[in-house]
C-alpha cells in the first residue's frame, strides 16, 4: 500500500487523540490545582472527627447533608475534605517518585547508551536485576521493617521504578549519539559531560517526558495499594488508598465509602495516562510502553 492511500485514514480519528491530550491535561491540571489550594478550598478540617455524624451519605443519595457534599467517613470526618487532601498525597508521591527514579534511570540509561561496551553491559545487567525484583513485595517489606511514612514510600518507589527510564534513555541515546550535531559538538571541543548534558539530554527529553507520565501513574497506583495494605502512608493522613482500606469495613452497607476515593484514583491515573499518550503522539516519541 502506498502512503497516499493510508494517510486519510490515519488522519480521520486524530481528533480523538487531541481530545485525549486535552482531557488528560485538564484532569491532571485540575487535580494539581486542587492539591495546591487544598487548605483554602476544603470545607472542613480533614482530621477532625465527629462520632455523632458517622457515615453521612453523599449528595446523590437521599438524606444527604448540604454541609457534607460527599458525606463523612466511619469516624465522622468530612469526606470531600479528606479527598482533597488525598490529592495532595497522590500528587506529591507521583511527582517526587518520578524525579527520584527519573534521575537514577536517565543517568544509567544515558551512560550505557552513550559509552556502550562494558558500561552498557553493566547498565543492562542492572536493568535485568531490577526487573527480577518483585516491586510490591519489596516495597511492602521495607516499609514493614522500617515503619510507614510518606518519605519512605517515596524513597522506596523512587529506588524501584527507574527501569523504564533507563531502558528508554539508553535506546534513545544510542540513536542520537551518532547524529551530526553530536559530531559537531565533539569537533568544537566540548567535553564529554557537556555533550551529555547539552546535546544528548535535550534531544531525548521528549521520550523521557512520556516515560515520566507512565511512571507517575504507576507510582500513584502503587502508593494507593501499599497504603491500602496498611504499609504505605500512615493514618490519619488521607491517602486515597488508605481511605479505601478504612471504608472496607462498611463497604457492604455503604458502598459509596470505597466508591468515592476509588473513582478519584481511577480518574487521576487515567488522566495522567491520557496526557502521556497524547504527548507521545504530539512529540512523536514513538513507542515507549
Amino acid at each position: 500500500m502506498s502512503g497516499t492511500v493510508v494517510m486519510p485514514a490515519r488522519r480521520r480519528f486524530d481528533w480523538m487523540r487531541r481530545t485525549g491530550l486535552v482531557a488528560g491535561a485538564l484532569i491532571v491540571g485540575l487535580v494539581l490545582l486542587v492539591a495546591i489550594l487544598a487548605p483554602w478550598i476544603t470545607p472542613h478540617d480533614p482530621f477532625v472527627q465527629n462520632l455523632d455524624n458517622r457515615l453521612a451519605v453523599p449528595f446523590w443519595m437521599e438524606g444527604a447533608e448540604p454541609d457534607h457534599l460527599l458525606g463523612t467517613d466511619g469516624l465522622g470526618r468530612d469526606y470531600l475534605s479528606r479527598l482533597i487532601y488525598g490529592a495532595r498525597i497522590s500528587m506529591l508521591i507521583g511527582l517526587l517518585t518520578v524525579v527520584t527514579s527519573g534521575v537514577i534511570g536517565t543517568t544509567l540509561g544515558v551512560l550505557g547508551g552513550f559509552f556502550g561496551g562494558k558500561v552498557d553491559d553493566a547498565v543492562l545487567f542492572a536493568i535485568t536485576c531490577r526487573l527480577a525484583i518483585p516491586v510490591v513485595l519489596v516495597a511492602l517489606a521495607v516499609v514493614g521493617l522500617l515503619g510507614s511514612s510518606l518519605m519512605l514510600v517515596i524513597l522506596v518507589l523512587g529506588l524501584l521504578l527507574w527501569d523504564r527510564f533507563a531502558v528508554v534513555a539508553r535506546s534513545t541515546t544510542m540513536q542520537v549519539r551518532n547524529l551530526d550535531y553530536v559530531a559537531a559538538a565533539w569537533a568544537s571541543g566540548l567535553s564529554t559531560p557537556a555533550i551529555l548534558v547539552k546535546e544528548i539530554l535535550p534531544n531525548i527529553a521528549s521520550h523521557l517526558a512520556v516515560v515520566a507520565t507512565l511512571e507517575m501513574a504507576l507510582a500513584i497506583l502503587l502508593e494507593a495499594a501499599l497504603s491500602f495494605l496498611g504499609l504505605g502512608v500512615p493514618p490519619p493522613l488521607p491517602s486515597w488508598g488508605l481511605m479505601i482500606a478504612e471504608g472496607k469495613d462498611y463497604m457492604f452497607f455503604s458502598p459509596w465509602v470505597i466508591f468515592v476515593p476509588g473513582v478519584a484514583l481511577f480518574i487521576l491515573v487515567f488522566g495522567i495516562n491520557l496526557l502521556g499518550d497524547g504527548l507521545r503522539d504530539l512529540l512523536g516519541a514513538g513507542d515507549t510502553r
Binding site: A9, P134, V136, L137, A224, L229, P255, V269, D287
Partner: protein
C-alpha cells in the same frame, strides 16, 4: 543456538546471585533485626540473647554465606511466627498462587488476543480507538479497588461467586479477573501492533493473491507470526503477576504465597519474607530465560545479538 543458550544461562545465574545478595541485604540494612524480633517490651539483655541465638552477631559476610549455602539446597530456615520450615510453607502455598497466576493469564489472553486482532483488522477506525481506550481503562484501574467492587457486585448483590477465601475453583474467578487487568493492556497493544505488522507483510499479500479466505489468512498466517512476541511477553507478564499477587491475594484472603508474604511482613517474620522475595524473583528469572530461549528457537535472527 547452544552458545546463545549458555550465554543466556550465565546471565540468568548472575542475576539470580545479585538478587540473592539484594534480598539478603534487604532485611539486614532495614534496621536491627534483633530489636524487631524481640519486640517493643524487650530489655537490652533480651535483644543481646536473641542477637546471639539467631547468629546475628556474626559478620554479615558469614551470615550471607551461611544463608546462601542453605538456600541453595532449599533450606530457608524456620519461620519465627509459623514455627514451621519456611520451604514447607512456601511449597504448601505455591500451588494456589500458580493457579491464580495461570487463571489470570488465561483470562488476559482470552480477552486481549481477540481485542488486539480486532483493532489491527480495523486499524485507525473507531473500533481500533475503542480497543485502545479499553486498554487504557484497564491500565488505570486500581487492582485492589476493582477487587472490592467485584466483591460487592458479583459477590454480595448478585451472589454468583464467593466473596473471599480459598477452596473451590469459584474462589479463583474474581481474583483471576482482577489479576488479568494488569496484563490485558500490554498484551492487547502487543497483539495489535504484531498483527498490523504481519498484515502489511509480503507473505500476507501472497496469501491474499492465492485467494485464501480472510479467516485463514488471519488465523493461519498473520496471527501465528504475531503470536511469537505475545507468547514471550505473556511469560514475562506471568512473572510480574506472581509478584503482584500479594495485593490481590490479601484482598480476597486467598491463602497463596502472596498472602503468606503479607502475613510475614506484618509479623516481622524475616526468614519467610526473604525466601518469598527470592523464590518469586527466581521464578521470574526462569520465565524470562525460557521466553528468550523459545524466541531464539523460533527466530534464528535473535541468536546473533
Amino acid at each position: 543456538m547452544l552458545r546463545f543458550a549458555l550465554r543466556r544461562l550465565t546471565v540468568a545465574l548472575l542475576v539470580a546471585l545479585t538478587v540473592m545478595v539484594l534480598s539478603f541485604m534487604l532485611t539486614r540494612v532495614s534496621g536491627d533485626l534483633a530489636i524487631s524480633i524481640a519486640g517493643a517490651s524487650a530489655t537490652q539483655q533480651d535483644v543481646e540473647i536473641i542477637r546471639h541465638a539467631y547468629g546475628l552477631d556474626r559478620p554479615l559476610a558469614m551470615q550471607f554465606i551461611d544463608w546462601i549455602g542453605r538456600a541453595a539446597v532449599g533450606d530457608f530456615g524456620e519461620s519465627f511466627f509459623f514455627k514451621a520450615r519456611t520451604a514447607d510453607l512456601i511449597m504448601d502455598r505455591m500451588p494456589i498462587t500458580l493457579t491464580l497466576g495461570l487463571v489470570g493469564l488465561g483470562i488476559a489472553l482470552l480477552v486481549s488476543i481477540p481485542l488486539g486482532v480486532l483493532a489491527a483488522v480495523r486499524e485507525n477506525t473507531w473500533v481500533d480507538r475503542l480497543v485502545q481506550l479499553v486498554a487504557m481503562i484497564g491500565q488505570a484501574m486500581p487492582s485492589f479497588w476493582l477487587g472490592l467492587i467485584l466483591m460487592i457486585t458479583l459477590g454480595l448483590q448478585l451472589g454468583w461467586l464467593p466473596i473471599s477465601g480459598t477452596g473451590s475453583w469459584e474462589h479463583y474467578v474474581m481474583p483471576g479477573i482482577v489479576l488479568s487487568f494488569s496484563a490485558i493492556p500490554a498484551l492487547t497493544r502487543l497483539t495489535r501492533s504484531g498483527m498490523i505488522q504481519a498484515l502489511g507483510s509480503d507473505y500476507i499479500r501472497t496469501a491474499r493473491a492465492k485467494g485464501l479466505s480472510r479467516l485463514s489468512i488471519l488465523g493461519k498466517h498473520a496471527l501465528r507470526n504475531a503470536a511469537i512476541p505475545v507468547v514471550s511477553i505473556a511469560a514475562v507478564q506471568l512473572g510480574f503477576m506472581l509478584g503482584g499477587s500479594i495485593v490481590i491475594e490479601t484482598v480476597f484472603a486467598l491463602h497463596g504465597v502472596g498472602f503468606l508474604a503479607w502475613e510475614s511482613i506484618s509479623k516481622n517474620d524475616f526468614p519467610v519474607v526473604q525466601a518469598v522475595v527470592l523464590v518469586l524473583a527466581l521464578i521470574y528469572i526462569g520465565l524470562t530465560m525460557a521466553a528468550d530461549l523459545l524466541n531464539a528457537l523460533l527466530d534464528p535472527r535473535l541468536r546473533a545479538s
